[in-house]
């Protein structure tokens, strides 16, 4: 078994793909019989069975086999889909998922539910079966001798001879019929088979002991006929020619089956191997290792560049330029390799929606668009839970019960739309429902109750600002806690998760018509272009994506509004933040850097601009803990640790 271990990760990856395909099409099937879906599930169950058998995962093989059996009957129309079987098959799919998990962890994929599940699958099949037991097709007894007419053909055709063949199949051969058919097929191409015992139909059904006797008229010599009859699992072929019967004894050819096994062939030259292989699968941990190495390379390239600046050697500079280009290409390549289509997580949602809506007694249709949009794996990992949370919210609090919807003049079936698209440097994911929507007044009242805002600040708030309150810690709109979405966890958790992947979230809602969440994500997060600046003698980095422009503070009028300072820049009033609380701001700051996050802008002051460079942002470790205003650290060329300003939080807090 151990030599099969090399296939394990491949097995796991393809099993998951097949399982996903099964679940996806089961959900299609639930909406009504669909031959394509049945064929797809059959195919996937069949592939899964074959792979599992090859790996020796018996439980998996058995459950897939039972599934395949059911779909075989569905395909032939003997059985029909009902909700019972869909539920049953989805449970079986859950078992399979658990088994694949176990196999991935190094187990044999044993399932504690196996017997019970097999039993229920089989009993459904037996219970639903009506017109089975058709058995083997009946063989016409009159056709014991094939092509009776051929007997009358001229036996003494010029150039042809009549041979008699006795072919014996290996006793261990369990598909005598198929081997027999191949033999006959081969011989048919060489001549005319005149007599054959047993009859072709009997051979096809496999209802014979393993010996075939036949006469054949052929212009080929006896060796060719023996060769044609010596297919796999044939142990003896005897041939005799009636015309030369007296001249020589029947020749006996015993085909040996052992030589192939003992033979050691010369190895194929490596260049020939895998020439056509266009895709390989690589363990993700290796990609992560490679990513880390590239990050180190980026850091050290920066260091060498700084050293080179000291010495100003033309050759060195040129070489460094070339290395720089290679490293940049390598980075881009690595980024692309790490991209995964969103369908990886989207594909799970139909099942979630189905299960939850059934549980809640709601009718919901889910549409998904843009699953092919790609994101870096690290971003993707942090995305599953927030998205799931939003979907649960939409099902639980968004979509109304069918009767309620009907009263409101809406279709009984609610709609949840998930879509993803690439927009310049970002990926935008939206989750939209046509449910009850969020009531701004109620939201405001709740925020007041929870003391998230004061009575004074409430009146002037825009709808957008009110909805922003939903993301505050300690806010939960659910009137009661349900086991679908309310576990005391609110949208603030979603927001935090989004921030962790350098993304952002906003919500739009219209009471009565629905809610729309929009998630803005960077497609990758590992390597970022930053501007290095000096603030009060300290170096820090600002992501270039967030910088709108750099201006001089001199000559810019600073207005004080309350405790805040603002500036007027190109007819725009911007808050000025000297980052005093972070860097004990200095008075020498002469330069304005205008930052932007989504639609909000603000200005900060810095002492100097050092330059622009690509860096790897490392998150703050748990030991440091989270630090407001700092999204991580980076290590530029000189090896010192430089904080990276978290523009999102600074701008949003203003």
């Amino acid at each position: 078994m151990s030599d099969l271990d090399m296939y394990r990760s491949l097995y796991v990856a393809e099993s998951r793909e097949n399982l996903e395909n099964i679940v996806k099409h089961l959900l299609v099937l639930e909406k009504g019989s669909d031959q394509d879906a049945i064929a797809e599930i059959f195919r996937s169950a069949h592939s899964l069975k074959g792979m599992s058998a090859s790996m020796g995962f018996d439980d998996m093989e058995q459950i897939c086999h039972a599934m395949e059996d059911i779909f075989q009957s569905l395909r032939s129309g003997d059985l029909h889909v009902d909700t019972e079987v869909i539920d049953l098959l989805l449970k079986a799919a859950d078992d399979i998922e658990a088994m694949v998990d176990d196999i991935e962890a190094g187990g044999q994929g044993h399932s504690p539910n196996l017997d019970q599940r097999l039993e229920s699958l089989r009993s459904w099949k037996a219970g639903g079966r009506q017109d089975r037991d058709r058995g083997v097709p009946i063989v016409s007894p009159t056709r014991d001798v094939s092509t009776a007419d051929s007997r009358s053909s001229d036996w003494n055709n010029l150039g042809t001879s009549l041979y008699r063949l006795e072919i014996e199949l290996d006793g261990k051969c369990d598909t005598k019929n198929l081997r027999g058919m191949i033999i006959l097929q081969n011989l048919d191409s060489l001549g005319e088979i005149i007599d054959i015992v047993p009859a072709r139909e009997v051979i096809e059904d496999g209802d014979f002991e393993g010996a075939i006797y036949l006469s054949i008229r052929s212009e080929n010599d006896g060796d060719a006929l023996v060769k044609a009859a010596s297919v796999s699992e044939v142990c003896t072929v005897r041939i005799s020619s009636p015309e030369e019967k007296s001249a020589s004894a029947p020749r006996e050819v015993i085909t040996s089956r052992d030589d192939a096994r003992d033979r050691k062939e010369a190895a194929v030259p490596a260049s020939d191997r895998g020439r056509e292989v266009k895709n390989i699968r690589v363990d993700i941990t290796r990609l992560d290792q490679m990513m880390n190495l590239i990050e180190d390379l980026v850091i050290n390239r920066g260091r060498v560049m700084q050293i080179a600046q000291k010495y100003r050697m033309k050759d060195l500079d040129e070489t460094l330029n070339m290395i720089g280009r290679s490293v940049a290409d390598l980075q881009n390549l690595m980024m692309n390799i790490r991209m995964i289509p969103l369908s990886h997580i989207f594909n799970r949602f139909p099942r979630t929606v189905r299960d939850l809506s059934q549980k809640m007694g709601k009718e919901i249709e889910l549409t998904i668009e843009g699953g092919q949009t790609e994101l870096d794996r690290s971003v993707m990992e942090g995305l599953n839970d927030p998205l799931l949370h939003l979907i649960r919210n939409a099902i639980d609090h968004g979509i109304e019960f069918p009767d309620q919807r009907e009263k409101a003049g809406k279709p009984r079936k609610g709609l949840i739309q998930i879509s993803a698209q690439r927009d310049r440097d970002n990926v935008i994911i939206t989750i939209q429902d046509d449910g009850a929507g969020i009531d701004p007044d109620r939201t405001l009242n709740k925020a007041l109750q929870r003391e998230l805002i004061t009575r004074d600040s409430a009146p002037g708030m825009s709808k957008e600002e009110i909805f922003d309150l939903l993301f505050q810690p300690g806010f939960s709109t659910a009137e009661k806690v349900t086991d679908v979405s309310g576990r005391g966890v609110g949208l603030d958790v979603v927001k935090t998760a989004m921030q962790a992947v350098k993304g952002s979230i906003k919500v739009e809602s219209e009471p009565g018509t629905g809610t729309r969440f929009e998630l803005l994500l960077p497609p990758t997060m590992a390597i970022v272009d930053v501007m290095m600046v000096r603030i009060n003698g300290r170096r820090c980095a600002i992501p270039v994506n967030n910088i709108v422009e750099v201006a001089s503070l001199a000559g810019t009028q600073i207005h004080s509004i309350g405790a805040r300072e603002t500036i007027l820049l190109r007819d725009e009033i911007l808050t000025l933040n000297r980052l005093d609380d972070m860097f004990e701001g200095s008075n020498g700051a002469e330069i304005l850097v205008i930052l932007q996050n989504q639609q909000k802008k603000m200005a900060i002051t810095v002492d100097a601009i050092i330059g622009q460079q690509e860096v790897v942002i490392k998150p703050l470790t748990r030991i440091v803990g989270s630090c407001p205003g700092i999204s991580g650290v980076t290590i530029p060329g000189d090896g010192q640790v430089v904080p990276v300003i978290d523009v999102n939080s600074i701008v949003m807090e203003n």
Binding site: Y7, E14, S54, N177, L178
Partner: protein
Amino acid sequence: MGKILIVDDTLFMRTLLKNILFSGGHTIAGEAADGDDAIEKYRELKPDIVTMDVVMPKMNGIDALKGIKALDPNARVIMCTAVGQEQMVKLAIKSGARGYIVKPFQAPKVLDEIKNILES
């Protein structure tokens, strides 16, 4: 030694089969993941033998076999079959398949079948 085109919709099975064939000293002419692809690759690569999975998306193995036979009546196609697919294999043999191997593959049996067909 033969130049073999492997047709199967799972990378897993293709890899498994490929390694068995390598161990027998055969060369892999190419791989195809569905029936359409198989016919195209056959035309392009002219392999000595094709190992053909039966159940595949788009075009199944039987139709692909017929397609290949239409291109080249002498094409040597071996069906890859699972226990219980007898009817399919019968159909394949009637459509000109020259042999079959049964999943889960056993290396000696696979190599034996290939050898027999190469020699015939």
